[in-house]
């Protein structure tokens, strides 16, 4: 596994806002194919910034972004979709005054003229989240928070991506729905989908992830396999100190 080329990678990346406020400093991270890679850390650690940089929404001032080992630093976000990588961001990314079906159709933009493929993608989303089919003519903004999250997940997965980046997928979601979403995420590698999961929910993130990165103040603190995090008492204590959550042995 160690020799496999990562689907996505950050190499010694610095990201700055307003020219000189460094949010990421020398950050490195590799997303291995067919695995779930977790990213945890306290607020302000740079988790979402790392993910947005990986997806081309932010351009690093130093270091590189790689897809399949190829340097793609500065590549715009819409090219990531073409390369089979989708993002579900932390903040709602729906078009509230468009219908559920319109939201899904816009995700098919790159192959919009291929009607059969678009119909197939929509059916795929409806099969995974049947509630979306029931609500397909409803405005996205009129749905509940959980249903909106299903729509975002359905939209990302309708394209049959080989990798999906998830930023706080259960933020502001009722616990029961959140548990369903984690089970869903856990099953994605079985469908051949690589996952990068950025999460504040340390317990769930460590539970579903194969490899976990811990960030602090825009830098890599430590990383290791999920079992490292559950077996190593020092590591557990360290995490407990940083993120104010103790992982059960």
């Amino acid at each position: 596994m160690a020799t496999e080329t990562p689907v996505l990678e950050l190499r010694a990346v610095d990201v700055a806002y307003h020219g000189d406020i460094r949010i990421l400093q020398g950050m490195s991270m590799a997303v291995r194919p067919g695995k779930i890679t977790g990213v945890i850390g306290p607020n302000g650690a740079g988790k979402s910034t790392a993910l947005r940089t990986l997806y081309g929404l932010l351009k690093p001032v130093a270091g590189d972004v790689l897809v399949d080992g190829e340097v793609v630093t500065g590549m715009p976000p819409w090219r990531f979709i073409e390369r089979g990588i989708s993002l579900v961001p932390q903040n709602r990314s729906l078009f509230n005054e468009l219908s559920v079906e319109d939201n899904l159709q816009l995700a098919c933009w790159s192959f919009r003229r291929d009607k059969a493929r678009v119909a197939e993608a929509l059916e795929r989303a409806y099969a995974q989240f049947p509630i979306l089919k029931d609500r397909r003519t409803q405005y996205a903004g009129a749905m509940s928070g959980g249903q909106q999250r299903f729509l975002e997940l359905g939209r990302a997965l309708a394209l049959q991506p080989r990798a999906v980046l998830l930023d706080e997928p259960t933020a502001m979601i009722a616990p029961k729905l959140a548990a369903e979403i984690y089970e869903f995420i856990h099953g994605l590698p079985k469908q051949g989908i690589t996952v990068l999961l950025v999460d504040q929910n340390v317990r769930q993130c460590v539970r579903v992830a194969d490899h976990v990165y811990v960030l602090e103040l825009g830098r890599n603190k430590i990383d290791g396999s999920a079992s490292d995090f559950t077996k190593d008492a020092d590591l557990r204590n360290l995490i407990a100190e940083w993120v104010d959550y103790r992982i059960d042995a």
Partner: protein, 293 residues
Amino acid sequence: MEILVLNGIVNGLIVGGIYALIGMSLTLLYGVLRIVNFAHGEFVIGGSFLAYALFSNLGLAPLFSLPVAALSFFAMGWGAYYLLLPRLQKSDDPEIMSFLMMYGVSIALAAVMLLIFEADSRSIDYSFTPISMKVGPIYVSTARIVAFGIVIVLAAALTWFLFRTLPGKALRATIMNPEAIKIVGVDVVKLSAFAFALASAIAGVTGVLVALVFPAFNPFSGAEYSIIGFIVVVLGGLGNPLGALLAGILYGLAEQLATVFLPQAMAPIVGFGILVAVILIRPTGLMGWRAQR
């Protein structure tokens, strides 16, 4: 008096339709690109001069200038976008920078038109047969009726495009959530270039209608149309094309009816008065986006 009021309403609808087209294209530009296009009025007057030049030199009737204006202004807008705007997006404050740059472009365009057509006011010496038609108890010039018909067709086509086609929905989606449109895989550079080109084409066509409806135009008329366009955009709700349609017609009606009851010089005051009232009572405009910007 009744005749005067009816006359005011009919002319208000016709003139308001033209203002609505200016507002719809301007609000599309602002909504999609976050660009304050102060040169939009010059684009409109550029369309008027194009129709004038085609009629004066080639004898082409203004109605035939419409497709020429649409195509040439679309191409010009597409080129101008790539020349001027991508770099602007890299500045710290693209909205202010766009305002300053497009103000400069408006002065430059007015100067170019001055150079070519000189400062005299121009009009197209073309008349339809019959020259006017009876609408109820009043007579309206045929040119104005034709222009209003074209406004209705254009506004309906634009509304259909924005609400019924996927590229139109993508433009509206960009207004609703500019970051999400990148996330779902839409090439926003091409989409923005298309929005700029489309807005320029509408401005060019509107210019031909201005030449039909208003008695004269000159190289400096553009600023007036830009200001009216901005009023319509704010009245309708920033970035809302349907709001601009409604606001344009309301503004036109207010302006024309004001001339019935008040001295002509009061018309702009009434228009601005409505703007101030709407901002005070409903700062998002008549149809500002409710849930999302």
